[in-house]
Amino acid sequence: MTSNRTFRGGVHPLRARHEGKAPTRGQTVRDYAAGTVTIMMGMHLGAPSEPCVKAGDHVKLGQVIGEPVGPLGLSVHASVSGKVLAVGPVQSVSSPAAMAVTIENDFRDEWADGLRPLGDVETCPAEEIVPAIRAAGVCGMGGAAFPTHVKLTVREGQFCDTIILNGAECETHLTCDHRLMLERGGRIVDGLRAAMRALNVKKGVIAIEDNKPDAIEAMRRAAQGRAGVEVMPLRTKYPQGGEKQLIQVVTGREVPAGKLPLDVHVIVLNVGTACAIADAVIDGRPLISRITTVTGRVARPSNLRVRVGTSVADLVAACGGYSIPDAEVGKVVLGGAMTGFPCPGDQVPIAKAHNGVVVYSRAEAAEPEESPCIRCGRCVDACPIGLIPWRLKYLCDANDMKEAAAQNVMDCIVCGGCSYICPAHRVLTASFKTMKDRIAAEAKKGKG
């Protein structure tokens, strides 16, 4: 079952020596609950939520512990039942002081009553779907963590004709979406149908890379008889799961620079998000757990269904601990190897969007030395959106914001393909990210 549907550019890190999916691909998802969880208030894109419990309180499973703040705000729910140990700043992956609520698990898993199940996605009232998703605190689970109810809100003058479910999972190492599609395909289709009904969309496409034939088969079976749902195999190539690439491949449309997918009448959701939508709509269950792939230098690489807020150290312990001496652990990455974030320490808690934990040894984590650019053009070939990375790199090094912007650095999707392929090991992607942040900050300053 191979497919020729793809975009231009890209790289093949999976075919190279970094095939990281093999150890976890065949492993059934295991449930895991840790003794304590540290639930961050800022797990989604947008302002962090306001904690509404205090130390010493007893909370039940699914109880709201953080109230939404601002237009992109999202509720946070307790992922275990038990006693609140602390409310205060902790080290997160991106910030040394992120507001969080720490709960000691009493392992009773008592559900709080709060959310109302809507029942069957095909018959429930369509206008209640998005509010239910919002109440359940669902955000994008593929990485960007954009609040899903905002994504599913179509403003005046806009319309959506296609919802794409992203099951490409093009990242190295990660198999959580793969396992989810195999084990809960029906739920994923339910979630897609719920989103389609909420927005009155007639077409839903589940896009899957052709290196997962079993998942394609499973989803085809699950989609049988469901109105407007179609499974589309795509060629295996990184970054096939990039939002812009996916839209281009599935619909033939390009999102204009600076615009959103909805401007070309498309909404892209991760398969994990669709599953969370189904849980919220059918059962009234808030988003309190997710599947995370734990792999690399751990004794038993696995896919775990973990409670939001579980620390990396607990996850590793659940997989038999590090397979190398602690002193030899060189890097822990949250997410995949191409776009994941490096962890400052293994006490960092898992958020709603963290789909993987990859552990590297010191030798694997050593960065190769940067040498002069030999103009081989591999980065130009690899760029999925047609930038000229080697030249951008010089402009970024010279801090030439104007020229870098003129060369479309803002269109860079930070996929990491150019850095991956560069034989001179030039630091390309990271420079572009820094430059993008700087230009965005400058623009903000200019506005406000």
Binding site: R17, V264, M338, Y420, I421
Partner: protein, 311 residues
Amino acid sequence: MNLRMSPAPHVYSSQSTRALMLNVIIALLPCAVAGVWHFGSGALTLILASTLSAVLAECLWQKLAGRRVLIGDLSAVVTGLILGLNLPPSAPWWLAVLGSAFAVVVVKGLFGGLGDNFVNPALAARAMLLVSWPKYMTAWVAPAGWNACVDAVSAATPLASPGSFTAWQLFLGDVPGSIGETCKLAILLGLAFLLLTKTVSWRIPVTLTASAFAFSWIFGGDPVAAILSGGVLFAAVFMATDYVTCPMSAAGQLVYAACAGLLIVLIRRYGLYPEGVTFAILLMNIAAPLIDRCVRRRVYGHGKGANAHNG
């Protein structure tokens, strides 16, 4: 636990500058062996002299200019080796040394080192030697084994006397010519290796050869002999594909190689010099930045295609 915090991506492909250069060196070895087989001790001396002096010159220049010494990236070896294989087997050793020094210091070093030169160092050095010492650079000997250059039986190349060699002779390199360029079998072996290891893409070698073939037919020559004589194939595989000096976009590379093929035929047919390969590729090197500017991929989300669906 002291974790590294370097940003994504966290994996790298196995290709490095040094590995790529090593691939090119390995691909050049069959040509070197064939050259020594046909032209003997003189060829061996030249290859060694040019390679060693290129490395030495790179090392000295980088020390003198106060830069990091990067001879470990093997690019100087490639330059020296290619220059050596581009010399007539009977050329004096000092020619190889001067050429290598010119290639590494003037053509590459003065511009900032590897990646910063805009013409291929080996080709520019060959052109320099050709215009400076034409009597050595256009003297050819017959391929006669180990003592070919000692006996120095002067002979005409297939380009100077077309029709005097069979296609088979041309293919195996049993003809007078530059050390590395005569044996087409060895060059094709090298090409196969480069393609298998993904060191170069097929675009430039194939397009250049096809273009030379087509244009020599259009201009009334024997197309098969045209690509089997002289340095077309060697240049198409090893010199036109030089990363640093060819265009970077796929379409640009096609344009570049096609124009180079045309220029080769034009210079061979109408020019003063019997072999146009060196100059043709040098000229296209100069045009490469312009080609890259003109042939550009549309950026995703910009221009026509992006707005096709809006409205």
